[in-house]
């Protein structure tokens, strides 16, 4: 058995309001690829950020190459030999490959940089890995896969022995994945330990030796990959009981309200088609990056799309920009409240009336204060927005109340379809229930509700029908009452099998 090169024990880490890691342990041996698995928010990234010095732990011990370490800075971690290859690549895209690889530790004579020498060494490292990249090329001109290779080469050039790869294959094609795996195998032979974080379970068999599974900030288990099955892994990933209670309302399913056909918008929205009926809430489940947010944005007309047909109450509607969607009665409460949902520095009143100025203005486009007040008072009352008055900055409200303002913007109009993208993210339990009740209320009024959420229990508890997406495609549809978490997660991780497709 190979030496243990990383041993983390009893790691605890809290962020305000969340216990991100709870007594987690982790072990990595030299010459192995360890898959670190878990759903979004299981604490994988947090744990790896502690190992690479980005975060500091609250308590627990960490030893690397048998030596105990207190809190590390990213630079110290690098010196010890830990390198992390981020999901969103961290490179200076204007600089060349060699320049990036030697950034911060350039070779130089007395004054002048030894460019040729650095380029040669970069070339040597790249050749070693059999990567065909010209070290003089600007990183920004390379395809993402090659940029990733450069990051790996950079890590090796600083003699990293512990490589953390966060979703390294998400942006790669089959051929490129092949290439990456070849390099990973080579690193393994050289005695590097590799932590491999991925949601693409079907890839694991090609590369992984052991797996560690985390769930809700806790260490669940670790085992040899060969001794386990995919079902076992998935069960361990989701195996929580649903604790919270969800207020479900039964309605009679009515006529079809909204239908989307043949929606395509880039890689993240491919051939999406679904319909929503009166009196039902349709949930969208999937892992982060599955293309759900992109789908909602494409429907709402925010991002350009290649194709797509929309039918509202049987009539075709054209949506080319958000204004089209709003006029037709299809509205979106976006994922990122602070960025896309609200003008945080404007008052609640300003926010509520922003998309409804056509309703509250008179013929001369002057705002009618009386109508505006009516509209705001109604929204505050209907949605139970907790605020002393509507002149307070929207940014000062709690998350739940902010969410209510976002929704309130749309309810003043007679909307037919309301799309909620992660409406409960970052808000407390009580406020969550109010949001659920709000969705139920819309459902009872016959408004079609689309509910996107990454939290499986809440989708299963609130939605009537669940559409699962993975990698830009709809991979399945289940009825909430009969579906199991395992079933949904299996659908959510059914990536196209790139490894075989290429042959």
């Amino acid at each position: 058995m190979n030496d243990v090169i990383v041993a983390m024990e009893n790691i605890n880490k809290s962020f305000p309001g969340v216990k991100a890691l709870d007594n987690v342990k982790f072990e990595l041996r030299s010459g192995e690829v360890m898959a670190l698995l878990g759903e979004n928010g299981a604490g994988k990234s947090t744990l790896m950020k502690i190992l690479s010095g980005v975060y500091t732990r609250d308590s627990g011990t960490m030893s690397i190459f048998g030596k105990e370490y207190e809190d590390l800075t990213p630079k110290q971690a690098q010196e010890v030999g830990v390198a992390i290859i981020h999901q969103e690549l961290n490179m200076c895209k204007h600089l060349s490959v060699a320049e990036n690889m030697f950034l911060g530790r350039e070779k130089r004579g007395k004054l002048i940089l030894k460019n040729t020498e650095m380029e040669e060494e970069a070339k040597r490292i790249l050749d070693d890995l059999k990567i065909d990249i010209n070290p003089k090329q600007a990183v920004g001109e390379l395809p993402v896969s090659k940029q990733q290779m450069v990051e790996i080469a950079k890590a090796l050039s600083i003699n990293a022995k512990i490589l953390i790869m966060d979703e390294p294959t998400s942006a790669l094609t089959a051929k490129e994945i092949e290439e990456l795996f070849r390099i990973i195998r080579k690193l393994k032979e050289n005695g590097c330990g590799i932590v491999y974080i991925s949601h693409r379970l079907e890839e694991l068999q090609h590369i992984v030796d052991r797996v560690t599974i985390m769930r809700d900030g806790q260490y669940i288990t670790s085992m040899n990959f060969a001794d386990t099955t995919m079902d076992q892994i998935i069960t361990n990933m989701v195996g929580r009981e649903i604790k919270e209670k969800f207020p479900r309302v039964e309605c009679k399913k009515g006529k079809k309200v909204f239908e989307v056909k043949n929606l395509n918008a880039g890689r993240m929205v491919r051939n999406v088609a679904f319909s929503v009926y009166e009196g039902e809430i349709v949930g969208f489940a999937g892992l982060m990056g599955a293309g759900r947010t992109e789908t909602t944005r494409a429907i709402f007309g925010v991002d350009a799309k290649e194709s797509g047909e929309f039918y509202l109450d049987g009539k075709e509607i054209k949506i080319n920009c958000p204004m089209d969607a709003i006029r037709a009665g299809v509205v979106l409460a976006p994922e990122d409240r602070k960025k896309d949902g609200l003008c945080t520095k404007l008052s609640i009143r300003d926010n509520l009336t922003l998309p409804n100025l056509d309703l509250v203005c008179n013929k001369l486009q002057v705002v009618d204060n009386r109508k505006e007040k009516e509209l705001c008072d109604k929204a505050v009352e209907d949605l139970k927005i907790k605020t002393p008055n509507v002149e307070i900055d929207a940014g000062n409200l709690s998350g739940g109340n902010q969410q209510k303002v976002v929704v309130g913007k749309w309810l003043a109009r007679d909307s037919r379809v309301v799309i909620f993208d992660e409406p409960t993210r970052g808000i407390d339990v009580g406020a969550k229930v109010e949001i659920y009740n709000l969705m139920n209320k819309l459902k009872k009024q016959g408004i079609a509700v689309v509910f996107v959420s990454s939290e499986m229990p809440e989708v299963m508890g609130i939605a009537d029908r669940i559409i699962v997406m993975c990698d830009g495609r709809i991979t399945g549809e289940v009825m909430a009452e009969t579906a199991s978490q395992n079933e949904i997660l299996t659908l959510a991780t059914s990536f196209e099998n790139k490894m075989i497709k290429d042959n």
């Binding site: 950034l103 090329q137 991002d303 350009a304």
Partner: protein, 340 residues
């Protein structure tokens, strides 16, 4: 991909910012020839001399602003530093201080402004537009106060006619090898800072923090020091331009250098320096300053009014950036699909 090696032209074009630089130089030649054909005095030796001298100031200002722009920041205090430099140098000399000592003191004052800029932006993370807007007002205020809210007398009244002439000749009126000294000063400064930016670690770090400050920091680049160095280069160049203006007038003018920070942006941007940071080279700035001055000179020669000159410069700046955007993305005004 490795075909680059075989094609020398491609290899040259692959150098950061070379494309825009070559475009600007091509534009320069065309503009020069066009005006020359309209009015042949454009080609006379005296005009070329004047052109090189007027271009020199803008080159220095362009270098100042380009360094800061490449780090992804901006320096609005350049013009005020020019004014302060001219006023401090002139005031000291009217008081009889030896010119060399006066220059040293002036330089120290400008460097102090550079350090303040660097710390406000690098260390305290103020938006550079605001931080240097502040120092712009303060520095201009100092320029006013140096001599009690009025322009200085002729420097000859303090240091004597001979010393004053020497000072003025050194920076402005004298020639070496038949070309005005101003040009030689600008070229020496240009070469030093060209070298610093393209061949040294500091230069590399300046590009890196302009390209991706987080990646640079995670790679161990000292962001505060690098930012400050860029502002110091800006301060040094501004100081020299102030001295040139002082020598030109033979006195200190409180309003000297007004708007120069924007001229610096124009020179840099015409030459392909991106205001978003990370790209551009000083050769481009040289081309940019030359295009601009050739244009101004040519328009003067054909009798165009100042108003026309300004309008043309404005159009050229916008056009240069638009061209850059079109070349890079291959499209105009289309929404970037991969924006998210």
């Amino acid at each position: 991909m490795n075909g680059n090696k075989k094609n020398p032209l491609k290899q040259v074009l692959a150098i950061r910012g070379m494309g825009a630089t070559l475009t600007a130089f091509a534009g320069l030649i065309m503009i020069y020839l066009a005006f020359g054909l309209i009015n042949s005095t454009v080609f006379t030796g005296q005009n070329i001399m004047n052109l090189l001298r007027s271009m020199s100031k803008y080159l220095l200002i362009g270098i100042a602003q380009s360094y800061v722009l490449i780090t992804g920041n901006i320096d609005l205090s350049i013009g005020s530093m020019v004014g302060m430099s001219a006023m401090i140098a002139a005031t000291l000399m009217t008081l009889g201080v030896n010119p060399i000592l006066a220059i040293v003191i002036t330089l120290i004052c400008c460097l102090a402004v550079g350090v303040v800029n660097g710390f406000l932006v690098g260390k305290f993370k103020l938006p550079p537009f605001i931080a240097t807007l502040g120092t712009m007002f303060v520095t201009r205020g100092i320029a006013y106060m140096v001599n009690g809210n009025r322009n200085t007398d002729a420097i000859a009244t303090g240091v004597g006619k001979e010393t004053a002439d020497n000072f003025q000749n050194f920076f402005y009126y004298g020639t070496t090898l038949g070309i005005y000294n101003t040009f030689w000063i600008a070229i020496v400064v240009f070469l030093i800072f060209f070298f610093l930016l393209s061949k040294t670690r500091t230069g590399r770090h300046i590009y890196a923090i302009g390209s991706n400050v987080d990646a640079a920091k995670l790679s161990g680049v000292n962001v505060v020091a690098t930012t400050t160095k860029a502002y110091l280069v800006s301060a040094i160049c501004s100081c020299i331009v102030g001295l040139i203006l002082c020598a030109q007038a033979g006195m200190g003018n409180m309003e000297a250098g007004n708007m120069y920070e924007m001229y610096g942006v124009a020179a840099g941007v015409i030459g392909g320096v991106s205001p978003l940071g990370g790209t551009g080279m000083l050769l481009g700035t040289l081309a940019g300053a030359s295009v601009w001055q050739t244009l101004e000179n040519g328009l003067n020669m054909v009798g165009a009014q100042v108003g026309i000159q300004r309008i043309v410069i404005g159009i050229i700046v916008v056009f240069a950036v638009l061209l850059d955007v079109v070349v890079r993305t291959g499209q105009i005004g289309k929404k970037n699909k991969n924006a998210k």
